[in-house]
């Protein structure tokens, strides 16, 4: 067994560390763009059109059929519960006005992920 030189050790440790940082940095960047894309899809009248019923962020002329989407982290500490509400609100309330965006394929899974990421920031 050959002992690695101290120099080599440091180098590989550095590489691991840098790699990790790079990963973290790219996760940060894509999370931000997910939130941004999610906002667009949520506001798009042909996609989420959430503003038809909810006050949401800085969106203009919201409807008031559903509750304002505020304090979402407090109301949905578990992000997957928020996702479930968006994917199929009829699970919780069969006669809800809110369309089952996932179950009825109004939105794709990926679009729902993005909207969830955005709404969770509100």
């Amino acid at each position: 067994m050959e002992k690695p030189t101290p120099n080599a050790l440091t180098a590989s440790a550095m590489a691991t560390l840098l790699g990790g940082m790079a990963l973290l940095a790219s996760a940060g960047a894509s999370a931000a763009s997910m939130v941004e894309e999610g906002k667009q899809i949520a506001e798009d009248r042909r996609k989420g059109n959430c503003l038809a019923c909810h006050a949401m962020g800085d969106g203009q002329l919201p409807g008031n059929i559903g509750p304002p989407l505020v304090a979402m982290k407090a109301r949905f500490p578990d992000e997957s519960a928020l996702r479930a509400q968006i994917a199929d609100a009829t699970q919780k309330n069969p006669n809800t006005m809110m369309p089952p965006f996932g179950r009825h394929n109004v939105l794709t899974d990926e679009e729902i992920d993005k909207i969830t990421a955005y709404v969770h920031t509100l």
């Binding site: 409807g63 008031n64 059929i65 006669n95 006005m97 369309p99 009825h104 109004v106």
Partner: protein, 276 residues
Amino acid sequence: MRKIIAATLAAGLVGGLPLAAQATNPQQDLKEFRAYFMERFPDTQFQDFSNGVYSIDAPSRAQWESIEEFPPYELAVDDGREMWNTPFGNGKTYADCFPDGEDGIRQNYPYWNGNTVKTLEQEINECRETNGEKPLGWKKGKIAALSAYLAYQSRGKPIDVKVPNDAALEWYEQGKQHFYSKRGQLNFSCANCHVDSAGMLIRADKLSPALGHVTHFPVFRSKWGELGTLHRRYGGCNKQVRAKPFPAQSDEYRALEYFHTYMSNGIEVNGPGARK
């Protein structure tokens, strides 16, 4: 009311239940339907529900009242009157089919004729065909003009739709199910918007109460820039939820009109109307 909706929905979900098993009682339905809206909009007089969203929204009402000073449907009523007074090729007139037309008949439609549910527009076209004329398109134009004239002659008469027997009740029941069943990719029932959410904003539009919905049809809509029939509006509301509309005068829409109009019994005809 909520109980009824839930019960109807559940029935709809189970599906295929024999109609009799649901024990529908139109009079009881009507009582609860009215009571729901009267309670929800205590400031609105019963007769005023004929004014749709304007019966519950003071700001838009002022604007609408100024529109009504120079009614956009006036020309259509004149066209309809001229149709009424112009003999067919065979010398007969619409009055031969509708002897009481000028006194007001709109309030009795749709009605059970012993065999099926008949709408006014349907009988206008039947009258034409009996007299050797081509039928008119269902949703706008001439049929809406004549229908508007007949509605105008009926102003002030309370809607008086009857469900006289079990066979008629099946049509009523079918219309009721349509009204309370969720449909389309967006999964809305008529009742979701016009009962549960009446008075609320869907984006910038305030949703009208279903009570009094039908009294002013055919309607001149600014959005259409012309008159349209009730079945044209049904098609529009079906499309909004990304459901495929049924054809005008299909069994589905006549059944829906039957139930929907019965729910406005007692409210005076005020057609034609003007809306956004």
